[in-house]
Each structure stands twice: as C-alpha cells, then as structure tokens.
Symmetry: D2
Subunit: 190 residues, 4 copies
C-alpha cells in the first residue's frame, strides 16, 4: 500500500474544497476494500402525490457488480471528506440526470442500514467486491429523470408493482428487499 | 350528549366525501373533549438548503388556547373521517396560506408524539382545554407563507436562533420543546 | 381490540390519579366514536436474539371487532388522561399476562401510524365501529406470555412465517400489514 | 473511541469466522484512514423506568483521540466482516464490562448519523485522526457497568443533567450534541 498516490481525480475535483480524497486507482481501492468496510448510500427514488404519499418507485436498468443486468436503485460510495448529503446528491445527479430535482430528506437518519457482504449468506445483501455499510434513504423526485450513460433505462413503477415478485426477480444483491423496506417505511407496502 | 346534531359545517364540507364528521358545536366539542383524548397533528415548517439541510424554522405569532399571544407552530385537530395527511394539509393551508407549497413527508411515522394534558405537570405539554395526542412532523415549505387572519405574524428564524432561550420564552404549552425535538431529528440542534 | 365500554375496570383503577376518564356507557362511547377519531395503540410483540435481532413475532388468536376469530397483535384504546406508554403497558399486561415482561421502546415515535376506518376502501385498515388513529410499536417481550381470558391462544411465529401469505390470511382489518411493516422496520422482512 | 490498530485482539478473535479482517498495523490503518471514511457506531447507554422512559444517561470518563480527558459515550469502529450489531455488542462489552447487559435496539436504523471530520468546522463533529461516519443508537442497559481498564470512571447522570451546559462542557468532539440528540429522540430533552 506504499504507492497510494496523492493526486486528486477530476471526478472528485468537481466537489470542490469539500472533498480532498486522495486518488485511489483500481488496485488500491481493491486493497482498501479488503481491509475496512466501505461507507455507501442508497436512494430509493419515489414520486409522491399531492399529500405526500408514495405512488411510484423509480428503477434504473444497469450492469451490476455481480455481472448481471438488473433493475437497481441509486447506490454509491461516500468519498473521503464528502458528507453523506453530498454523496447522495452526487449519485442522484449522476444516475438520474440534471433535471431530476431530488429532494433530500431533512433528517440524517436513514430508514434502514444495509450491510452488503461478499458472502451472500451473511446478511442477505450481497456485493462480491466488498463489505459495505449503506445508509438507505427515500428520496422524492419531482423532475424528469434521464438515465446516465451507465444506465440502460429508467422507469417509474407503481408502488404495488414495485413490491411484486415479478419486479423483485429483476433485482439482485438484495436491492428488491431495500425497495420493500422503503415502501413499508412509507406505509405503502401492500 | 343527546343533541349532538348531524348537520355538516361548511369547513368540513370543503374536504368533500372524505370527511363526514358530524357537526360539533362548542358545547358538544367540550363534552367530547372531557371523555376521550383528541387526535392532533403538529407541523414544524422548515426551509431546507440545496442538500436538504434545515436552515430556518417558520413560526406563527398567534392567540393561544392558554390566552397568551405566543410564537407557535402549525397545530390542529384531525376530524372524523379525515386522514392524518389531509389534516396536515388542511392546517398548513389554513395557517400558511395558499402559496406555501408545504411538502408533506412520505413516511407516516411522526418524529415524535406529543401528549398535551390539562395538567401541566403530567408531560410538560399543556392544553387547558383537553387531553390531545399529537403527531409531530417536520414539513419543508418551499413557497411564500402568508399568515391567515387568525395569526398576527409569520417569521422564518434560523435554526440556531429557533433553539435559543430567547425564542423558547416566546412559546407556550411546550411548543418550544417540539421545535428543539424537530431540530434534533434534523440533526440541527446546536 | 378491547371493549372499553361499561364501568371503569379494575385495570383503569390501578392507574390512580393519572386517569380521570369520565364514565362512558355503551351508548355514549358509540356516540363519541361517531364524532371524533379515537386514539389507539398497537404493539407487535417480538422475541429478540442476543444481538437484538427479531426472531419471532407473537400473535394472539381472538374474537375481533369484525366478528371473525383471527390472529391479532395487541391493540387498544388510549383513555382520557392516560399516557401512550401507560396504555401500551395496560394492553400488553391484559393481553399477554403478568409474566410477559414487555420492554416498551425508549422513543415515543411509533414505527408507523395506522388509520382504521369504517370504510375498508379508505386506507386498507378496517374497523367497523370507528375511525381510530393508532400508534404502532415494536415491543420486545422477554418473559412468558399467557393469553388473557379474552384470547383463545397465543403463539410465537418465526419472522419469515409471520410475513407469509398463510399467516396473513388468518389476520383481519389490515393487521397482517402492520406485522409486515414491523418486520420491515426491524430489517427482517424477507 | 477505540484504538484498533495493532495485532488482532482477543475480542475480535471471539467473533470467529464472522470477522476475517486482514491485519492492519498502525501505519496501514493510518494510510487507510486518509483514503476512505471509516464506519463507526456510537451507543448512548440509558436507564429506563418501568414504562420505558429514559431516566439516566451513562457516561464514561476517558482519554480521547483529541488528547483530552473527557466524558464520553461508547464509540468505536466497525471491522471488516463484522455486522453493525456485532460491533455495537463488542464495544459495549469492552467499555461497560460483562455485567452491563445492554439491550440492542430491534431496528437497524440509527437515531442519527454523525459525521466526524478532521476539520472541526465541517460538521461540528471532530476527530483529528479521520473522517468517520458513525451510526448512533440509544441502548438500554439493565445490568451493572464496570468501566474497562481504558476508562477512568463511569457514571449515570439524570436526563436533565445530561443535557445541561455543565455536562456538555466536559465532553469533546461533539459527543455532547449526540447526547442531546439521543435525549430528543427519546422525548426527554428538557
């Protein structure tokens, strides 16, 4: 681990002075991932009706860490020096595009904590690359979503459908369960 | 209680078929208030910054049930047949005006439950008229607030100031404590 | 759910000066129930393992307000002058017996709010007698449960089974959904 | 906070196959700490009365990362492969002794998320060694606490006193604020 270099990548540079994370190349990130749990955030994008009730869940279609093409929620790493809110905003912007206008929740407490492990039998949440502790938030989205170049598609699915076995079967790593937990938190699990 | 009449008031009428509460005149409401706890909702209006962090708390200036003129949050009764969300929306509309555009939270769970009692020593929350169980929510407000005819004023106060002893001294019935609990929930209590 | 009509029970008497609810006979309670929403509490009894994880859900078998014999969670009215904690304790004692040793949660916020309506299509939670706003809590139970004389049976069911369609079919009024929401809150919904 | 550098302790060894964290010597941990945020847990130990209400907060007296001797809550790192619950249990055992009998909460969601930064002006939570994202839980403790050899003292302080300016002045890094947020979550902030 001697050669963890100090250059700042362009990606982090955009965050300005808030994030001073040293550059981690692929090999270095892999080494760190084997030493300590990574901090992640998950955002379940939702549409609300006029009295704040969840009507739809937004799902991406993308290539996943487990090499499948699956429906997915917004999920990503918190960088060194970045706040949880900044990380949420950054991943939402990247995945849903600049016109999504996500409304980050006022409270810092997530609705659940997801523990991804390389061993799928440990917690039911699976990531072959790492142990990640992920803070999961429900995020109301008011604008129009355009999936980023990394995603193949983005769809709004009714809350009933989002909890169905058919949609669950299209998700991996336990993200279908995060969607059901999000719907339960919103009082909208069928 | 024989003469609890059945006429529907104009106030409830506006809610349409959702609310079929029988008309309660002042004396009848007083009788019911002595028999069962009333269901209430509280809304702490807040301004958020671009990453969802609370920056300001909105406070009304109004005549209170305890005959004082005090700073106050939005608070009111849930009517028979009315959902908690409808009640929140109705009281926010009434107190903050039609251009406030409050964002009701997606989750039905309040951040705290407030128990008003006619005996001020019971819970620290005091209402001389009744025992009320009140569900307290943080509500982001994006539009312009115009206090209703019942309120004398409406101001946005910074989150630091809202938790101060000076502002607390201008509130009664324990509402200053609700504001501090709301700020703590939002991670913004100094 | 409880039948709180009639003379003041010994259970209420024990609460002493805390509860000064006026006597409500059957007819009066019926009248009040048609005028204002009732305040209720629900408790989902759970067994935890040594690190606090839910392993089992406790379900009563009892005659319900809708005239069915169903599996049920602990549920009952908050009396005038009674705190939410006192009501929870009273209903848990009555339904699970004196050796249950329920651990009431430290936080006053329920994990969800349930709105029972006489119209089953309004919220999905149904009570033919009334509009009730119910605060739902997860309650760890460490002792032995003996169902009261009003209940026919009490069983501990694994968290997986408790969320199953088979067990859900044995519950009415939407209480199966409360169980699933409780499991989701505990991170244990399959 | 704990010092987890150095050889694998007997504490980690007891976790058996659950934790397979690679050995991190002092220098390696320091390097990793400068690259990614660390995952931490905080536990605010509390005494509850018979209806679950917080009456006292437990505070350690110890040497802190900022070189002060301060009052402190239980706080420590989540190891690679360790679940959040296991980490909580391990740190509670280490800091409060084997007879504390802490009751871990059933829900995985913390009451707040604390973001420690080496720059004290960023979030108000300060750790000179690292950026740590810490999940904060309220933990009811029923047994007797014996501070570990690392702590100089352990005391139970009334909830009113715990929120006072005098006690806050004896805490560092923002932990006094975590105590106030915990009390607010429990509805017990004065």
């Amino acid at each position: 681990m001697d050669d963890l270099s100090g250059a700042v990548s362009s990606g982090e540079h955009e965050l300005g002075t808030a994030v001073q994370e040293a550059w981690l190349d692929d090999r270095e990130l892999e080494v760190v991932r084997g030493r300590v749990p990574m901090v992640y955030v998950e955002a379940v994008p939702v549409r609300l009706d006029e009295v704040g009730q969840v009507t739809h869940v937004g799902l991406l279609l993308r290539a996943m860490a487990d090499s499948t093409i699956s429906r997915a929620i917004v999920s990503g790493r918190v960088l060194w020096g970045e706040t949880v809110r900044q990380a949420l905003q950054r991943h939402l912007d990247k995945d849903l595009g600049p016109s999504a206008f996500p409304r980050l929740p006022a409270a810092p407490a997530p609705f659940t904590v997801v523990e991804y492990m390389p061993d799928p039998t440990r917690t039911g949440y699976y990531d072959p690359r790492q142990h990640a502790v992920s803070l999961a938030y429900l995020v109301a989205v008011e604008g129009e979503c355009e999936p980023s170049q990394e995603a193949l598609d983005f769809v709004w699915i009714s809350s009933e459908e989002a909890a169905s076995a058919a949609v669950s079967a299209e998700m991996t790593g336990g993200q279908d369960r995060i969607v059901r937990l999000a719907l339960a938190y919103a009082g909208r699990l069928p």
